[in-house]
Symmetry: C5
């Protein structure tokens, strides 16, 4: 899984049917120094993550299982928020 | 999923049988500043995305489920358009 | 899927049994300017792609489905040629 | 799989139900010179890896199988510690 | 699949049960100029690849199928040697 900061949302009226009524966030993966990178990933979210929050995101089956626990393979998505971060403890002495 | 701009199309007469009659677009992933990168990805599309449009693309099972909802594992593809973007809202204050 | 130029072949006498009698090409992914990159990927091919040709390649289940449509999960491979490119149309005005 | 150094932990009260009671570490992939990189990955751990230890991590099904051997597909995670490293032997003459 | 040079081995006494008795190599992916990169990947091996040999490695299901053909999903690994390279033919005129 990766850590990311929520920086926005994306809307698509014309989309794959099985994605109707889902919310898609634009997130910005962060590195060890907690700096946001310029890459973005689009993730589905049912946990209610807000702009500026740090989230744990997962790919693939893990993402679908987070959004539709009873029928994950019915979804055309492969990235989702699986947790909203309260605290990250990094031992700075271990970082180069 | 990733955001990308549609920049072209690709044709292949000689291809895996299960890909017959599908349309393949060349898309250009974009970053947080909405600048296109130079990498390209080939994606299948059944939503009718046009050149210059911004799309949400998905990989793997998610892509196959978008193109062939009833029998996704029958396809030899692993990237597809799953949404045509109407609007991207980015909170610029959250971007480094 | 990704676009690549076929630049060579690779032989391995000692290999996983389920890969016997398959042909493995060395391909070079290309970017939006159609420049070959220095990375290489090893892909299985049953379409007969030749040196110098541009191909569409797929990863994972998609690759196995292209090589063994009737029993894809029997194979220890995860990249394959799924199409030999006739034409790529890129709208240059859309490229930065 | 990849090698990484454990550099911290991450807590998320609000998370996908199927991740309750799991421990999530922040790990730092290392390269051939055993230098930590600045990228981070969030991995689940049931082996008890401590801060500063080097671990082998796996993605996807492999990760879920390590955390929930009896029902891997029930989990919304795709990265996990699968081994705590005792020793790495690198033949330096083979490294550029 | 990717090409890599075997540069070492890694030992982990404490590991996921289903990985007992497997051998894990440290390999170094190579690029088109056959230069080793500094990234490393940990791969399982049952073919007996030795230090300095060039190997073809595969990810995901393909890797598990190479190590445990009869029950691939029982394994917590996602990278394995699937071939030991005898010869790589690269057409240098096709390389930029």
């Amino acid at each position: 899984m990766f850590l990311a900061k929520v920086v926005g949302s994306v809307w698509a009226t014309k989309k794959t049917d099985n994605l109707d009524n889902l919310k898609f966030l634009v997130v910005n993966p962060i590195n060890l120094k907690k700096e946001p990178l310029t890459d973005v990933v689009v993730v589905a979210d049912v946990l209610g993550a807000g702009i500026g929050e740090t989230v744990i995101c997962a790919y693939g089956h893990a993402a679908r299982k987070a959004i539709a626990p009873d029928d994950p393979s019915a979804l055309s998505l492969e990235a989702a928020v699986v947790g909203i971060v309260d605290k990250i403890d990094i031992d700075k002495s271990k970082i180069k």
